[in-house]
């Protein structure tokens, strides 16, 4: 066996806690199954009765529309420009969408030309269950040397934490400041710092507390 094969077998991930509840996924799958069965019955009845009836549907969290995603990207561009004066070459990459959720990766060069990046995830109240509760955020891993909870005006809480990771030599390397904004309505904004030129706490705070970065 080669050294590379061994390294792959022993691959070590800094795994975050599971962001969803498997039982909730099963509930969702069961609901979809029931809805599908109901649709079949409904279609048959509708054909027989020749009536157009709209079936009742439970409220579901929707994937943000393209317009909504574009609005968030514009808001993020403005927030980054305010938080990092002189920022240039700002590139936003779609990093995933889901019900009441969208993620964006931002890459940029700061005023001194140093490259940096971070990821921002905006969630509406409908996706609140996907997020680790604010209470347990500072304790879910022992690799959090610094973590503060800051109550926000008007309710909600902002958690700023700094993670570290072990490099190949076992040295602890700071990974940058991560920010978690929990709003009173259940919506959240999460900014995770990249490995290059991490943002300061002040910059993270300026970006994620921007009220325009919100989904219904």
């Amino acid at each position: 066996m080669t050294g590379l094969e061994t390294r792959l077998r022993d691959v070590d991930l800094a795994e975050p806690p599971l962001g969803f509840d498997p039982d909730e996924v099963a509930d969702r799958a069961a609901r979809r199954g029931r809805r599908r069965s109901a649709s079949v019955v409904f279609a048959a009845v509708a054909a027989l009765a020749a009536l157009l009836v709209v079936p009742a549907r439970e409220p579901v969290a929707l994937v943000p529309s393209l317009a909504e995603q574009a609005r968030i990207r514009v808001a993020l561009t403005e927030a980054v420009t305010r938080a990092l004066p002189g920022v240039r070459d700002l590139t936003l990459s779609a990093a995933g969408t889901g019900p009441a959720r969208m993620s964006v990766t931002a890459e940029f060069a700061d005023a001194d030309g140093r490259p940096g990046d971070f990821r921002l995830t905006v969630r509406g109240a409908g996706a609140a269950r996907e997020v680790v509760p604010a209470d347990g955020l500072c304790t879910w891993t022992d690799q959090v040397p610094h973590c503060v909870r800051l109550p926000q005006p008007g309710g909600g809480v902002l958690v700023l934490s700094e993670l570290v990771y072990k490099d190949v030599n076992g040295n602890l390397v700071p990974e940058g400041v991560n920010g978690f904004l929990y709003r009173p309505d259940g919506s959240t904004v999460i900014l995770t710092g990249g490995l290059r030129h991490p943002l300061t706490e002040e910059q993270v705070t300026k970006v994620i507390t921007d009220p325009a970065l919100a989904l219904p």
Binding site: D10, F20, G98, D167, E175
Partner: protein
């Protein structure tokens, strides 16, 4: 679905969610996407659960569905990077890898999808070639050649990144 099947599925989902997410992450390099893929996989499995459990263990079937979900997802146009200069690149932006295997994970993201799948299942998940073949729906010979080519690509990427960091 019968209550007994539903309970069995929930037990499977609870027991395997982390393992499936780990495999998904090794394939896509993004924890958010990995969680999406696992959830979609579980929902698809739920639909056919009574049928597949009658055929025997479902782990490989679950990996097969996960792999298909990832390949489908990676082909979607919105997974490609958006840029403001009008140039559309053809590779997604991998999330920064963390943990002591960061450089290896970043290099893995550079390996073409089919080779990466063979490498992840064969080495990271430590599956026998026969099981990988079942997941990838190909012959054991194809698995061996894809895994070998994947390792070769990976080795090349790692060597290049070592040279770059030595500069």
């Amino acid at each position: 679905m019968r209550a007994a099947d539903d309970a069995e599925f929930r037990e499977f989902a609870r027991a395997r969610a982390l393992t499936l997410r780990r495999t998904a992450y090794l394939l896509c390099g993004d924890w958010h996407l990995a969680e999406d893929l696992v959830q979609v996989t579980l929902i698809k499995l739920y639909r056919v659960w009574p049928k597949i459990t009658r055929r025997g263990p479902v782990d490989n079937y679950a990996r097969q569905v996960l792999l298909r979900c990832w390949l489908d997802e990676s082909r979607r146009p919105w997974r490609r990077r958006e840029r403001r200069d009008g140039v559309v690149p053809d590779r997604p932006s991998p999330a920064p890898a963390t943990g002591i295997s960061g450089p290896l994970l970043r290099a893995l993201a550079e390996v073409p999808p089919k080779q990466r799948a063979a490498v992840v299942l064969r080495y990271c998940a430590d599956l026998p070639a026969a099981e990988v073949a079942e997941v990838l729906r190909c012959s054991e010979g194809t698995v061996r050649s894809q895994a070998a080519r994947g390792l070769e690509t990976l080795r090349g990427v790692l060597e290049q990144s070592t040279e770059r960091s030595a500069w």
